[in-house]
Amino acid sequence: MIPATRSPLAWAVHLSVAIFVLLWTLPTAGLLVTSFRDKDQIAVSGWWTALATSSQNLVFRAPEGEGEAAAEGHFTLTGNVFEAGVGTVSAFGFSSKAPTAFAPDTTADLPGGVSLSVAEDGAFTLSAPESFKGKRGQRIFYTASVAPRFTFDNYLSVLRAEGLGRSFLNSMTVAVPSTAIPILIAAFAAYALSWMQFPGRSLLIAMVVGLLVVPLQMSLIPLLTIYNSAGQAFGFDPKSYIGVWLAHTGFGLPLAIYLLRNYMTGLPREIMESARVDGATDFQIFTRIVLPLSFPALASFAIFQFLWTWNDLLVALVFLGPQDDKLVLTGRLVNLLGSRGGDWEILAASAFVSIAVPVFVFFALQKYLVRGLLAGSVK
């Protein structure tokens, strides 16, 4: 490609790509940070606050008398409001009405002769004429600057989900053939539509474009009905992997044919003609010349089809069923969310668990997109 030699232009390019990338990844970065945050913090503060030390109003509940010391009819309970890690207390209180009433290291008098003091490092002392046992632990409100705190718990709860491994395999089983089959048959069709002359060709191309728009939801009931009646007539299980593969093939074909045809039409005419002069048949031209030249287009379609089948839930649920042993990964992750559909932290972590494979596929196939096969061979 063009070497960006002139340095101001080169800098401009670097800078604009950087801005582009920043804009495109910022929303996702938010989710990534969120996926490492504590459940209770997500709905309370912005994800960017998790990156720096922040001042927060927090509540700590003192234990119900465990570890209290008794001396001369006086009971003392000590501890630290920071359960883990360190922080700095800037104010405290004992009532929700006035959570910041007292400065650290001062003593607050609570009703019933109880007194409470909280030090800057979070150490607190409660003392009272009666035992703390058998009573609800005192709430200690405090304002503190808390260092960023991240947790792997969200990922652990996603990764430990029962049947996750099996669902991963199920998703693989669905996605890989559903990607391979349409590519193969679409490539042949695309070749015919771009390099063979026959009546009705442009009509067929328009048909393919038209079929791109068929809403998937529309097709589900008629197709499942066919599957069921065929299953009954020939005695097979209508909800099988083959059914899903074929369904994904059908739904993915218009885009595959459309993209591949566009690419193949752009291939240089001379190559094909010289091959034909040499006595090659269409089949040979296709397999020996067109197919290898179309690799970038095949790879890019493969990426999209894989993504689509990997992230799909609806087609898999309808044609494979939601049973435990056939559940795909997306289904498994969605089920983690519970009947009311949502714990943000699980959503965030599972989004990144399920993105791992498609991104890997993208990286793996990217070199085929990049290798300018065509550019090198046109001579």
Binding site: L58, K97, L317, G331, D343
Partner: protein
């Protein structure tokens, strides 16, 4: 997994015969809170080894584990292999599956409107008169449950198509008792007192309510619960019944008044955390967090019995958070109405196993096992209330049993396009400032369009 069995040999034999390595949550015969006799009697009656049963329900995540723990007892008793499944889009899934001719054996759904539709298309099997009589006799307020479960079939004749199982109480207000104690508030017993308390909190410089209607694609539904609760507190129950069937129009003054009763809370900037503008966009899952903030962002939150699963981790029900009955007006002699919701089981395929499953739901043990774990209420009179896992559940059970009027969530009873569509959208518009009369007229127009 070895489970110690202390009951009769028949049970033991059956357990072994079933050959299923399912872990029963409570070993049969051990805990005296449970009605084990009903389990033994049921399992003696059925031997369906080798059969299987596909159950499709709305429960996912933790609820799914709970549901499966109950289904394990059915397996242990009958030898039937149960396949429970659910899906995020269960509404869509059940429509597709039944319509295309590959339904599960048993479907469990929370929307009577959807069930009515399935019944009308002839996709469900009637449960029969025995079950009808059984419901009427054994459920508290049995006739209202029978009515709820009766739908018109394909031929237009009415029959019992569904079996109510697992109820949620919706008329609850959640609060933090210690915050109430700090500020010196007490739990209101009447709607008048609740309104006084609301004003009191504002006068003290606090914000009384957290209201959030956001729910992604279902945004608006929490407001429908408010309006239904207000309907039951301002109008007799039969007006409510006519409202859900559209015999009382949606733009009837009675309905508009109920919407405005909700607006009195939700559209007052000083009453709601974040002001009225935040109501429609705050997610209902994030909304209760305000109760636990320091200082509290709000003191009360109106929501159904499921909401504690969205409370901060470690919140102890009864101590850290509690609820009270959303009170009725003392000045309007309407008793103690309770709004609820629930799931109903139905036979999408008529098999021996699915018939046995409906019978299983009639045994107290099918209710007690879930009750003893969490989040399950039942109107079945013969269960042991001691089996409720905690006091909060027992208290909700008391509200359910103490109700003078029990009504099912109206938006679930209305046609789907209204109850899960126009009503939601209308409430969002209303929260955004559109007049109640205009909103109600719009919903009525949409309803007319369905006929």
């Amino acid at each position: 997994m070895l489970v110690r069995l202390l009951t009769g040999a028949s049970l033991l034999a059956l357990w072994a015969g079933a050959g299923v390595a399912q872990d029963l949550k409570f070993a049969p015969g051990e805990d005296s809170r449970f009605n084990w006799a009903s389990f033994t009697e049921f399992s003696d009656k059925y031997n369906l080894d080798g059969q299987s049963l596909a159950v499709f329900g709305p429960w996912r995540g933790e609820d799914q584990a709970l549901a499966e723990s109950v289904l394990a007892y059915f397996t242990a008793a009958t030898g039937v292999t149960v396949n429970y499944s659910s899906s995020e889009n269960y509404e869509q899934q059940i429509v597709i599956d039944t319509q295309a001719g590959s339904p599960p054996d048993i479907a469990i759904l929370p929307q009577p409107g959807l069930i009515a539709d399935l019944a009308a298309k002839g996709l469900l099997t009637p449960l029969g008169d025995d079950t009808k009589t059984w419901l009427a006799e054994n459920y508290a307020a049995g006739d209202s449950w029978v009515k709820l479960s009766t739908y018109k079939g394909k031929d237009g004749s009415e029959a019992l198509y569904a079996f109510p199982y697992k109820i949620d109480v919706k008329s609850l207000v959640w609060y933090v008792p210690e915050n109430f104690a700090d500020a010196g508030y007490s739990v209101p017993q009447t709607m008048e007192e609740l309104k006084v308390l609301t004003d009191q909190i504002v006068a003290d410089g606090g914000t009384p309510w957290c209201i959030g209607l956001g729910s992604g694609g279902a945004t608006g539904w929490p407001a429908t619960d408010w309006v239904e609760d207000m309907m039951l507190r301002t109008q007799p129950a039969d007006i409510y019944d006519k409202w859900v069937t559209n015999d009382v129009k949606f733009d009837d003054p009675a309905v508009i008044a109920a919407i405005d009763e909700f607006g009195a809370f939700a559209r007052n900037d000083t009453y709601v955390d974040g002001g009225a503008a935040a109501v429609a966009t705050t997610d209902f899952r994030d909304s209760p967090a305000g109760l636990f903030a320091s200082p509290p962002k709000c003191y009360m939150h109106h929501q159904a019995s499921f909401i504690p699963s969205f409370f901060p981790e470690g919140t102890e029900l009864g101590n850290d958070a509690d609820f009270f009955y959303f009170p009725a007006y003392a000045g309007k002699d309407l008793g103690k109405p309770v709004l609820g919701a629930g799931t109903l089981a139905m036979m999408t395929k008529d098999t021996e196993a699915s018939r046995a499953f409906i019978e299983f739901l009639k045994t107290p043990i099918a209710h007690e096992v879930w009750m003893a774990q969490s989040g399950f209420l039942t109107p079945l009179k013969s269960v042991n209330p001691e089996a409720y896992a905690n006091d909060a559940l027992k208290k909700q059970g008391d509200i359910l049993l103490g109700a003078t009027t029990f009504r099912f969530d109206g938006s679930d009873l209305m046609p789907g396009k209204i109850g899960a569509g126009a009503f939601w959208t209308g409430m969002v518009d209303y929260a955004g400032g559109k007049p109640a009369a205009e909103v109600a007229a719009g919903i009525q127009a949409e309803w007319d369009g369905l006929k």
